[in-house]
Symmetry: C2
């Protein structure tokens, strides 16, 4: 099975756990099979692997997410990096062409496209497999998964099928309706459109070539920023007469706000926190090292991370966005392909950061123009390379680096260090990367 | 005017801003005359200085608070350090004997005793001066300040005066009553007993010698741990027939819980925080560098410090103590006589701390048996002394210290450094102090 997971934009609605570089799909709040917390992305990926251990999974996403995806999903996942955001049609065209030209998937094979972030259970993955099988049979050019509605929602677009059979031809699509109209749709056996569909690779590749002038994946990648923003629904679905829909009866939820997210949590508390016995329907997610104590709260979500602290009435939390847009807070925590970093202290003229590298991983070889740095290794073993000179390092070792000097660190075991940046202008953009081979 | 300020125990009820070494009187939450925030202790001290610039102020307190007192009140304040806690009679006897034997105050001079932490306004300091003047006149052995009650409180003891005159003989004292009894007291013109009183120094010194066998201040200090715990009320006040009381009509509040404390705040927010417009009667005190956002909260207090985060319904917050007693959280922030420190990161085998020294101040000259340390100066200038060798330091300088090595740092301008402690057993008790002269 070939699956394209669409991994979308930033998740300001779930601040402070999501931020400009950490989208909601990467927040670890679900108890996994091994008792470890996992993110929506990890949960989705694990589910796919359970139903099909050989599934070829490709994540279509932006460059800013690719470190995080490798960190959470490992190196077996393919990534189709969008050089810039151009809506779903160009993204799916690029990922499809990536599957064909880079991964060597044939035009006859089925491809399933779905978002990475809905909350689903095991039957969903079974449905994805059924969807791929239907696409493979070729009864229609596109096969959609339609969600059996649980209430007349105004949040979703609707699919009106010809019959109420498990698989039916699609009669028409409807935009997000008001509640009364939604009730009418439900009587007709309408289904929610969750943006999940399957096709034979060649079908979308043909559509892409009809709508975009490009030779192959590389060419499409290079001219990506010149493409018009257009959704897959508008560019393809609405113009296609041959569409089937498969009914899905299981759990499928959009956890886009603190209110819906906390509903899906297995426990009321994640992290170091306590609620007194007068708290009701109150959830705490504490990503900080310090304890949180909640007393006498009702219908409240508390969320704390190195980026900030939110305390909100659950209903009110859906109005968070304008408040976060106003915040001028630098990113204080991030997961990278090589590990993670956390800002410990910011002062005029200095910044103190804790860096954790996973075994076998390394930072880019790089230099800074306008700041000196001091590394103190606090745990683990590895090697530093400073201006071409390699040195073994362990806890207690101190490495000082003047501005301009090229440096990196390679972890042999998990390695942690405290990095102190010193300079008048400390900025993430002050970074020049080098290939080590060039030295 | 001689004033003894009683500065009492830890303030767990105001966690996380108060902790074992930081009592509630040191929390900076009041807007001072210059726009800077000041603590209850600073507010009280400033008020005393305003009414009497020459006031001789002595704080009776424990050793653990003396650094904080010098940090907040400066070096002009006297401190009578209680070697251990022995209730108010031994504490007042020790401070009185300190005034006599160390500060040279004569037996004829009046002394005013009052707690450091009530919330008061300007008229209170005028009343303290009146109290000293009454004691000076010597119409009674003890002169109390009696607070005009605003409601029949069950929280206070009551003073029943003979008349309703501004100054009256005291008829009797009453323990904390129930509400009905309190209403009866109010009809009789009763006053709250706030533990504020004045006497001629010689009076309490005589009582002290009658009840305790000691020669002078030094002798009393040395045998302090052998003394019986007994309150001044029980040991002296209840046995004294000659007591006057002065009525006080102004503001006098005990800010011992988050509920009462937030009532006295000038603004709803201190620190980096925002409330949406659906918040009602919600106070935020944020001592962290990261932003707090509160949405849709009603009658809630949010308080965040390096020690932890409290979110509580205001009424419920008075039941906080058992929850804090359970917490096993090391102190993450403290003000010392030489400046302050803040724990930035704790890992197995390492601790990272930010140290700020005020100009002209220095740490003790000390060593550790079981940990190495690395200092990186991030701002300011000063000198380090490591195993007797002095060196000028500035931002960017790195000093490494092996276990056993003696070291200190002296700030010439305000100096900040990041201290990284490395070792298998990191403990605050692993510290040996030296006099630098001995080197």
């Amino acid at each position: 099975m070939n699956i394209i997971l669409l991994s979308g934009g930033s998740g300001k609605r779930l601040w402070p756990l999501s931020n400009d570089i950490r989208s909601k799909q990467f927040i670890k709040i679900f108890k996994g099979k091994d008792g470890q917390y996992e993110s929506m992305a990890q949960r989705m990926y694990r589910g796919i692997r359970t139903i099909d251990t050989d599934a070829k999974v490709t994540v279509a996403t932006s460059k800013s997410q690719s470190s995080e995806i490798h960190n959470q999903l490992g190196d077996n996942v393919g990534i189709s990096v969008e050089p810039c955001r151009r809506d779903t049609f160009p993204a799916i065209a690029l990922a499809t062409s990536y599957l064909h030209d880079v991964q060597g998937v044939s035009e006859d094979e089925p491809v399933v496209v779905c978002p990475v972030d809905p909350y689903v259970e095991d039957d969903y993955f079974k449905a994805l497999k059924d969807l791929a099988d239907l696409a493979s049979k070729g009864n229609a050019n596109l096969t959609l998964l339609g969600m059996e509605p649980t209430y007349p929602s105004e949040k979703y677009g609707y699919i009106i099928p010809v019959t109420k059979d498990e698989v039916s031809k699609v009669k028409e699509f409807k935009e997000k309706p008001d509640e009364e109209t939604a009730k009418e749709y439900l009587k007709q056996g309408a289904l929610w459109n969750g943006g999940i569909f399957a096709y034979k690779l060649g079908y979308v590749l043909k559509r892409a070539h009809e709508l975009i002038d490009f030779i192959d994946y590389t060419d499409l990648f290079n001219k990506y920023d010149t493409l018009t923003k257009i959704s897959f629904d508008y560019a393809v679905v609405e113009k296609e007469p041959s569409i089937d829909v498969l009914r899905f009866h299981g759990v499928w939820k959009d956890l886009g706000t603190w209110n819906t997210l906390t509903e899906a949590m297995d426990e009321n508390i994640i992290g170091k926190a306590e609620e007194d016995d007068t708290c009701e329907n109150t959830h705490i997610i504490n990503d900080l090292d310090i304890p949180v104590l909640a007393m006498g709260l009702k219908d409240v979500v508390v969320s704390a991370s190195p980026d900030g602290i939110l305390i909100s009435d659950k209903h009110q939390s859906s109005y968070i966005k304008p408040y976060i847009d106003k915040l001028e807070q630098p990113v204080m925590y991030a997961e990278k392909s090589w590990g993670s970093f956390r800002v410990l202290d910011v002062e005029k003229g200095s910044m103190t950061i804790k860096v954790t590298l996973t075994p076998g991983h390394r930072m880019n070889y790089h230099s800074h123009e306008r700041r000196d740095e001091v590394w103190t290794v606090i745990s683990g073993t590895g090697r530093t390379i400073v201006d071409g000179m390699e040195q073994n390092v362990k806890a207690g070792d101190v490495i000082t680096m003047q501005a301009g000097c090229r440096h990196t660190v390679i972890a042999d075991s998990e390695l942690q260090l405290i990095e102190i940046q010193l300079g008048k202008e400390i900025s993430v953009s002050d970074k020049k990367k080098y290939k080590f081979d060039e030295e």
